[in-house]
Amino acid sequence: MLATLEGAVIASVLVLTAMGLSIVFGVMRVVNVAHGEFYMLGAVLAWYVSSVLGVNAVVGFVAALVLAPLLVGLIAAAADRLILKHLKYDPDRTIVATIGLLYIIQQTTLMTFGPDARPVAPPFNQRLALPWFEWGENGLEMFWPWGLSITSYKLFVIAAAAVVLLSLWVLITRTKLGLIMRATQQDSETALAFGIPVGRVYSVVFGLGAGLAALGAVLVVPIQQAHYLMGADPLLLSFIVVIIGGLGSLPGTVVAALLIGMSDGIISVFFSPTLAKIIATFLVAMVLVWRPQGLFGRAVT
């Protein structure tokens, strides 16, 4: 039960991060290797913003929640304009370019903010006791308040991720911008022939993808500290999620993120984080062998 909740927290953050990677790949066919660095940048900026404004933990956190993803999104959009656009979004060359971007962002962060791990104070952090039922000697027993507990902040992370996901779904399916994004994804040349400024759409999408990673990171820094090397794990996990869910399939991404996040949480609590990673990687291999298009992806025709 506790493990499930821990898993749900990991899954919530992972859903946002993987969604960003998936949207960028889906619309632009760009594999963004620097995605984990946008996550890291979100976390570090969250620390920076909240420590500059940090009279009050709540004010600092709310400011970080708004500013960090916004800044990261703008940086990513600029990177799209300056680099990816000039490579004409060629699939191979953009991989190399985003690897370069990965090191640029990492080293710039190291030089600007230093190598220390930085904590961010959670805006609220009550310990919540959860009732736990167990079938014991005297029939059904309830353990409370000393059975299980989770902090209110972790519940907030889960709720926030759900809200963001829902807004994203509304954005994509119900708004004009979403319609433009979907049209561009399906046929960018025809989109251009109908007046859609495809280059601008790509910048927005790249910024949105990076912003989602940064948002996940801001949610996570009160639990894990911000550090300039923290981008590798989310990158790997997001790739695993996107491959299992099906490249570019958004529902697939959500399901796979929940699956991987939950199992990562559960296995990490009962066994070890290493085993969790091994199992996830094994799953990827199985999916690639048996269903290369992913669980929800459509076969390329």
């Binding site: 004009k176 046929d187 022939a193 109908f194």
Partner: protein, 231 residues
């Protein structure tokens, strides 16, 4: 209205167009004829700005289109019906029409007007475009382009793979647009269909426009067809 002057274009290093020249006036149907691979589709793409021009120029009512960013070209009033329809297959019929309306910020009135032209589409607004029949897809591609209330309409083999009743429907729509004063560029393989509607014909051979003829010329001298098309 639309003037194409000696354009050259290439896909990367593969040079495809080497001097294509023609023009089309309001209420006129100009047909591009040529063998497979002659460069007809490439010509239309170049007009839409989807390929960079190597040389030559395209002007619409005196304005040089090559200086515009490509997404502004349709906004000047050029509706494009690509070869093979090129619908947004996972969008619904309604959403495909919406994309067309957005190009030049057209409203409900225009939407009603195209749905009057193609009542079949109204019954299928919520269906995804990829699941429509071939004929319905062509109706939708045509409707999407008409949503721009175009001054110039480019059609690339609109009757390809359609049954006769559908071909007649498309032809009626083309003639209706002509009557409303639209300048029409039509790429067509079926010579008999062309002769019924065309005002003028341009022959394209190996990426070069080699001959322009009026419909009268062709009627008087059918030899021209044999000479340039080998039919």
């Amino acid at each position: 209205m639309l003037e194409v002057q000696g354009i050259h274009a290439a896909y990367g290093d593969v040079r495809v167009l080497r001097g294509v020249t023609f023009d089309v006036q309001p209420a006129e149907i100009m047909c591009l004829l040529g063998r497979n691979g002659a460069g007809k589709t490439t010509t239309l793409k170049s007009v839409m700005g989807l390929l960079p021009l190597g040389d030559g120029c395209v002007t619409l009512a005196g304005e040089n289109l090559a200086t515009l960013p490509p997404h502004d070209i349709p906004r000047r009033g050029i509706g494009y019906i690509p070869q093979g329809r090129r619908l947004f297959p996972e969008l619904t019929v309604g959403e495909n029409i919406e994309i067309g309306l957005m190009t030049r910020s057209m409203g409900k009135e225009t939407r009603e007007w195209v749905l009057e032209l193609f009542p079949r589409l109204r019954e299928r607004l919520k269906q995804t475009a990829g699941t429509l029949s071939g004929g319905e897809q062509q109706m939708l591609a045509t409707a999407r382009a008409l949503c721009l209330r175009p001054k110039v309409l480019l059609l690339d083999e609109p009757t390809e793979g359609l049954q006769p009743s559908m071909i007649a429907l498309i032809r009626d729509v083309i003639l209706k647009m002509k009557a409303e004063g639209v300048a029409i560029v039509l790429v067509e393989q079926r010579v008999d269909a062309v002769l019924q509607v065309a005002d003028r014909v341009v022959f394209i051979e190996n990426g070069t426009s080699v001959k322009t003829a009026t419909a009268d010329d062709l009627r008087k001298d059918p030899e021209i067809l044999t000479r340039y098309l080998g039919v």
